[in-house]
């Protein structure tokens, strides 16, 4: 079923003419999310639905790629393209304020993350997906003794190492873009198809995938040199190293599950749209980390 990548309203299977008409109508009403999606992905020109339809069809066409490859290519283009995302640029050699923005906003993200994983477990009937998500829950939130500290705890320790009291971090409400992302990811995970939820959440792990330069990324998530030396605190190195080492396998495995089950269950088009919506939310959320850094004087 074709879905709108800006608001996830559904049309019929392959009904990209309906999607194009919807995009035109909403853009003519000056809806910011629909205008944004069209401008950033298809065209900045005002276009009638009949002319927009083939452009939208081309955009969603997998060509010879698997769905996972299609997702990865769009993710790389959006966050690591010719002009990389400003947060990625800032994280190459991050200031204390940038890392503080990371901590304060990301603790909200991670708390929603585990809720999203739990929704997927509750809504799938596939044991390999359940196992994948259980592993994820442990890595991110549960941990396994002092040798396997969960990512959430490593994040809070990074905060403490740069002078952020844990209680202060936990008591700070999210910025509006973070709040909006959390609310929409919660809605996606609880109401969209579980394969769409899987794609929406785990495609985001591509951000820390160190293999992305092989697929056209102009920068890594951060300069791996900061994992050595004294540019950032040891606790910050521990947090960033965990993601850097874990997320290659994680994101690859998730995309493999998404590709397989989207085809098997006939939900490729809605998975594409849900991924695109999630990527836009993530874009805004990464800006919120920088906005928090700006407010702290970074």
């Amino acid at each position: 079923m074709a879905k709108c990548p800006a608001c996830l309203v559904g049309f019929g299977p392959g009904a990209f003419d309906g999607l194009a008409l919807h995009l035109c109508e909403r853009a003519n009403e000056s809806d910011a999310d629909h205008v944004r999606w069209l401008n950033q992905n298809v065209t900045k020109e005002r276009t009638e639905a009949a002319d927009l339809t083939p452009m939208v069809v081309r955009y969603f066409d997998l060509g010879g790629e698997t769905l996972g490859e299609w997702i990865r290519a769009r993710f790389v283009s959006k966050f690591f393209g010719k002009v990389p995302h400003p947060f990625v640029v800032a994280l190459q050699h991050p200031s204390r304020e940038v890392l503080s923005g990371y901590v304060i906003e990301h603790q909200h993200f991670l708390r929603q993350w585990v809720r999203s994983c739990a929704f997927i477990i509750a809504r799938t009937d596939r044991p390999d997906v359940v196992r994948y998500e259980l592993d994820n829950l442990n890595t991110e939130f549960g941990g396994d003794g002092p040798e396997r500290v969960p990512h959430y705890e490593l994040l809070l320790r990074m905060g403490e190492s740069i002078g952020l009291e844990r209680a202060q971090v936990l008591a700070t409400p999210p910025l509006p873009a973070t709040r909006r992302g959390i609310d929409e990811w919660n809605r996606i995970a609880s109401t969209e198809h579980w394969v769409s939820a899987l794609a929406a959440m785990h495609s985001l792990e591509l951000i820390a995938n160190r293999e992305l330069p092989r697929f056209g990324a102009t920068l890594p998530y951060f300069d791996p040199g900061i994992l050595r030396g004294n540019d950032i605190t040891p606790a910050s190195q521990a947090f960033l190293r965990e993601g850097y080492e874990a997320d290659v396998g994680h994101s690859d495995e998730a995309l493999s599950l998404v590709s397989r089950y989207a085809v098997e269950l006939g939900v490729v088009e809605e998975v594409q749209a849900t991924f695109l919506r999630s990527a836009d939310l993530f874009d805004d959320y990464l800006i919120a980390r920088l906005e928090r850094a700006d407010r702290l004087g970074g």
Binding site: A27, S30, A32, V35, N39, P84, P86, V89, E291
Partner: protein
Amino acid sequence: MFFCCERCALQLRGLLARVKSATGWSRVDALELEGDRRGRRGLATHGDGRFRFFVAFNAEGEVRKFDALPVDDPGGPPAHEP
């Protein structure tokens, strides 16, 4: 003036307010902007006055970063935030 959406209108209003605040000008005669949603370099003029700047917005369309640039800044789309 027509805008594609309310977010763009908010961005322009916020940008003009920051330029006026930074320069003390009562109005801006012209704005030239280069870049994209990641950030824009700009030139504002008022009579013979010229003011170069970098601006970036948050997801709601509010000004997130605003920095004055040297008057001899070469312009062009920014590769990244200063």
